[in-house]
């Protein structure tokens, strides 16, 4: 037992004096690839990204029809509106998948793991912000989302919810569906339909701006960490040093140690 619990020092070669390398390397110690993003989460992510792109394009056309129909048989606005509403339904489906994962997903994507509820998590969020502000040299690495990113994702999901509700209000304004009327029909009595449209339109820019900042942050963190963060949203796997695995992930830790001892 004893030798198994303290082997970590042995296989790690001692720190050498830095040497100019043609190809720089960064050692991250013994590590293991963890399947952090199950495929439904990745499906929801890319589904949302794709549909936001298409919804923003078709939505902007609805706002400002910049192409003018020239031939006798065009159905431009009709087509754009149909596409917007069809993609909107997909968008809602992806959102619902993600909501389901908040409660039934893996430990890193659960609502409880992402909400900034404890004092410790707020402290960590400040640490993350310090890295972005060049105060802290190394990013704060986590197996799942870092706490600041997690909080911003919850914020964006809340706005996505608002976008869906305002969209459904406008949809129902024309469709007058009995179920939707019960769900959202009361809203225009409090927020006028024109302001509903305004909110729906303005949020589009918020999503685009979020996307820009979000991709930038992922790039910066990914290149500083070198743990395959950017890769993870495609493959589901993130590289995590063994010592940073969660305490209760015994099996993984043991497996990693076995592997090292045998090597």
């Amino acid at each position: 037992m004893q030798p198994q619990m303290k082997p970590a020092a042995a296989p790690v070669p001692p720190e050498r004096a830095p040497r100019k390398l043609a190809h720089p390397r960064m050692r991250i110690g013994p590590a293991i690839a963890v399947y952090v993003w199950q495929y439904p989460l990745r499906l929801a992510h890319w589904g949302l990204v794709l549909s936001i792109g298409l919804l923003a394009f078709t939505g902007y056309y609805i706002h400002n029809p910049f192409i003018v129909g020239q031939t006798k048989t065009t159905f431009l606005m009709g087509t754009f509106r149909f596409a917007h509403e069809a993609f909107a339904m997909c968008f809602i489906a992806f959102f619902l998948i993600r909501i389901y994962l908040f409660f039934a997903g893996d430990r890193w994507v659960k609502l409880s793991a992402m909400a900034p509820v404890s004092r410790a998590r707020w402290k960590e969020m400040i640490e993350v912000a310090k890295f972005y502000a060049f105060i802290r040299p190394r990013p704060l690495s986590k197996v799942g989302h870092n706490p600041l990113a997690a909080a911003s994702y919850l914020g964006i999901y809340a706005l996505i919810f608002v976008e869906i509700v305002t969209g459904l209000v406008m949809f129902n304004w024309l469709a007058q569906n009995p179920v939707l009327t019960v769900l959202v029909g009361w809203i225009p009595g409090y927020i006028d339909i024109q302001n509903i449209r305004l909110i729906h339109f303005c949020l589009m820019f918020v999503f685009i701006a979020f996307g820009i900042v979000h991709v930038h942050m992922c790039l910066i963190v990914s290149s500083a960490e070198k743990r395959g963060l950017l890769d993870s949203i495609f493959t589901g796997y993130k590289v995590v040093p063994v010592d940073e695995l969660e305490e209760d992930d015994r099996a993984a830790i043991e497996a990693a140690r076995d592997h090292r001892v045998r090597a």
Partner: protein, 367 residues
């Protein structure tokens, strides 16, 4: 005007209105009410037998445009029949009596016809500073309205001002103006929103009242569903151009001359509900969109505040001044994000390489 209690058929005959004209009028009214043909005999009987109910027309903070709209409907069927359908005892703009005599008439109606007469209210009711901004014969509008409406069989609020304050209640609403519904909660009101109300609709409500002795079905704003239940955009004659993607982009441009859709000129047809496209105005002559001007949603709640700017698709963003459109603000946000990430990215290339990772065991402590 004829005495109250005269039977309608006699009254109409005396005015030289034939049975044929009465059938036409009743059919038009049924059409407006979206009622099937089989109600025609009933409506005819009701209108012919009606013992002219008394009607009083109150005007508060208004422009008299709704009265004008009612009186100027030159269509002999609607205009004259409506005037003859009821015994108009009190209407400030058109009655002969003035001063004390007029006030006495109103008092008499309220006393003698209690619970039987109809009230039409035109104009908003001020509530600021005890309602002193509109007084008639020394009495505040709200007092008059409370007394007259609470003793009536039913109250019909005509026009945007009586509906929800209209122009008078538009921001900043200096007189604290409100509509009848809000000023007198608990009183049975039917709202004929619109600036002005469409007299054909109001006449239809009166016919409905005479036929069924009740007001028609209403929506959440107490507006009759037959007139306010459908969206202008769905009934618009330019809708085919909307779906095709053919839009007017400038007043008087080629598209405007060809009658294309006015969406880009700020038409609020997609938001507004009303039966303008069907009933139209001035004896079914035309309506705003046919005349080449976008809809301003005049029958919608608080339309001066909510539907303006009338020539823009969307309202201005609150808190950023009138000139700030949502598009400018949004593009500014996206631009700021691009500039921000570029700056941050460039700065990150200058970031000194992170010091070598501390020995693994201390990593968790540091974090």
């Amino acid at each position: 005007m004829l005495a109250p209690g005269t039977e309608m058929k006699d009254a109409l005959e005396r005015r030289g209105i034939t049975r044929r004209q009465l059938v036409k009028f009743c059919s038009a009214m049924l059409g407006t009410l979206a009622l099937p043909d089989r109600f025609l005999p009933q409506a005819m009987a009701a209108v012919a037998k009606a013992r002219k109910p008394v009607l009083v027309w109150l005007e508060f903070q208004d422009c008299a445009g709704c009265s004008e709209s009612m009186l100027r409907s030159s269509h002999p069927n609607v205009g004259e029949a409506v005037l003859d359908l009821l015994s108009w005892e009190y209407h400030e703009t058109i009655m002969a009596g003035a001063g004390q005599a007029a006030t006495r008439t109103l008092d008499r109606v309220v006393k003698e016809e209690k619970g039987k007469y109809l009230v039409v209210v035109e104009g908003s009711i001020p509530t600021a500073e005890g309602g002193i901004h509109c007084t008639i014969g020394g009495r505040a509008a709200i007092d008059i309205a409370r007394e007259v409406c609470s003793n009536a069989a039913a109250t019909i609020a005509v026009g945007a001002c009586a509906f929800d304050g209209g122009l008078v209640a538009a921001k900043p609403n200096p007189t604290g103006a409100v509509g009848v519904h809000e000023a007198l909660p608990g009183i049975k009101v039917i709202n004929m929103a619109g600036c002005p109300h469409n007299p054909a609709n109001t006449a239809a409500v009166l016919v409905h009242y005479l036929t069924f002795n009740d007001l028609p079905a209403v929506d959440q704003y107490s507006r009759p569903l037959f007139a306010y239940g459908r969206i202008i955009h769905d009934q618009c004659e330019r809708r085919a151009h909307f779906d095709a993607g053919r839009f007017v982009t400038e007043w008087g441009d080629e598209g405007h001359r060809k009658g294309w859709c006015l969406y880009k000129m700020g038409c609020k047809g997609p938001e507004a509900t009303f039966n303008c496209p069907i009933v139209q105005w001035n004896d079914h002559t035309s309506w705003p969109i046919r005349a080449g001007h976008g809809c301003i949603g005049c029958a919608s709640p608080r339309f001066w505040d909510h539907m303006s700017p009338f020539y823009e698709r969307l309202p201005s963003v609150p808190g950023f001044g009138v000139e700030m459109t949502a598009t400018k603000l949004g593009l500014g946000l996206v631009g700021a994000a691009l500039v921000g990430v570029t700056g941050h990215g460039l700065a990150s290339t200058l970031r000194p390489a992170a010091p070598p990772a501390p020995p693994p065991d201390s990593v968790r402590k540091e974090n």
